[in-house]
Symmetry: C2
Subunit: 301 residues, 2 copies
């Protein structure tokens, strides 16, 4: 048994059991990985993969059992390398972030700016994706840290830290009836709603508020980002439900924002990263920076 065989098993799983793709990923020729897999299975005495003819089509019972240990080993190996690199120079490397539009646009600029001043040598790589994709990015190690409101707490191999809390606001045109008087869910339910896609930016909290009140939510437009929502509010499509952060008093002078914290549950934006996964010092400091910025957001409210 050796580490490249262990690595091979991981890669094979990622490539849907394709030896040729695995060979590509590992920068060796196909015959090499074929042989290595044979040797490994021979050493263990039992096949690890189900085969259809010569093709691998899945894992055997034993293979599946072993995969958990395999990822443990890979994780530990990576941790060792990270720790050593960190020890050599904890001021350079790459910080891989994954986040949604809302966080990238409205929350992250400040903590990232501060972080860059402290760690000018660290390259920041940011991918924007849906909450499900974020989790996948963490699992496949394409991202080290995810910042996100939805979903992440359902996954149990992630460490979750609450970054800040926020609530939804309604945005409407100046002549809109919702401009006057108290806003209730019932009143809201009378209008077509423009808000985030399902699974994005606290959408689930909007859903549950309406469901609990047994009201129907009439969604006219669901978008991944606030700018799209505001655009359609401006052409009179209905009431926008967005995060308060996204309202810009200057640029959005033509719109009126009204607080909905009394009728829609507060949302929590969280920081997520893999358990048992070593994060370089600068990543740990970035998380601290996020928490500081999160606190500032909380205190503003």
């Amino acid at each position: 048994m050796n580490l490249s065989q262990i690595e091979l098993l991981r890669v094979l799983q990622e490539t849907n059991f394709s030896l040729s793709k695995a060979a590509d990923k590992m920068n060796v020729v196909q015959s090499a990985v074929s042989r290595q897999l044979q040797l490994f299975e021979e050493e263990l005495g039992s096949p690890l993969f189900e085969r259809q003819g010569k093709k691998l089509i899945g894992m055997t019972l034993l293979g599946n059992r072993i995969m958990e240990e395999v990822s443990t080993i890979n994780r530990a190996k990576n941790n060792i390398q990270m720790m050593a690199a960190d020890y050599l120079d904890s001021n350079q490397g790459t910080l891989h972030l994954a986040t949604t539009h809302a966080q990238a646009k409205y929350f992250l600029p400040k903590p990232i700016q501060r972080f860059r001043e402290k760690y000018p040598g660290v390259i920041i790589s940011m991918v924007q994706a849906s909450p499900e994709q974020l989790i996948d990015h963490l699992h496949t190690r394409k991202a080290d840290i995810a910042i996100c409101t939805e979903r992440v707490d359902e996954v149990n191999d992630l460490v979750i830290e609450t970054c800040y809390e926020w609530h939804h606001s309604a945005v409407v045109l100046k002549n809109h009836p919702l401009n006057e008087g108290a806003i209730t869910l019932e009143r809201l339910a009378e209008f077509p709603i423009l808000t985030y896609n399902f699974g994005y930016t606290g959408r689930s909290n909007i859903e549950s508020a309406f469901n609990n009140a047994e009201l129907k939510l009439d969604i006219t437009l669901a978008a991944a980002d606030t700018d799209v929502i505001k655009t359609y509010v401006r052409i009179g499509l209905g009431v926008g439900l967005i995060t308060g952060m996204a309202y810009d008093p200057l640029a959005d002078q033509d719109l009126v924002m009204r607080d909905l914290s009394h009728i829609i549950p507060r949302s929590r934006t969280k920081i997520a990263y893999l358990k048992h996964n070593y994060l370089p010092l600068y990543s740990q400091h970035f998380i601290e920076e996020l928490l500081i910025a999160g606190n500032e957001v909380n205190n503003l409210q």
Copy 2:
């Protein structure tokens, strides 16, 4: 990085950082391990060991951080091998038990006999040791399963299952005053006591009973095993406090046993094995056998 380098780190820790002893253990020459360590440190870019001249005298900060990952890898590697061996033939292998005298003599014979009938191909290796040694045996993988009453619950990388509960009894000669009337801690405290060594077979429960009652425990003889205790009770040295299991109505006709469950807390005998450590099927079945036998003991009372 490769698995033998990882293994080397573990062995070095076990041999007090001696390259020559590590080489011996790994069945290679000294120069080979020396070179491998150099290569590994070179690859990581920082030394893992503190040196005094050429001698290794300890681990660096980085070395220490890494050791945790190293043992994770070694553990996972072993698990893979165990699983594979198990899959090939779960009816043979070696079951390494570690236990104390009391369990070996009075509790284990029945479950072991039953186990042997089901798994005639499994070699049973049993070492008798003190509770501290048992834990060490588990950690150094000299034993897979430990059966023991004391200590084990203080260690947090062990899985602990309660096997059975029992209580102490007093054994005395037929003409002894304790033969008559109810036994209280106060009466017991009047006599010299013969019982188990500190840290053995529920001794701690005897201590705490006396301490709670603010009575002095006058121990004349402390032994690791019941036979020694009974021998000295027979020559009139005092009152023996032993586990009820150890009283044999036939062989011990000359002694009288009296129940002490009302004055000394019940003891629990536990099964312990390493967390995150794969146990072969037959070992898992042996544990079941232990639990069954434990239940029988519980129900007898």
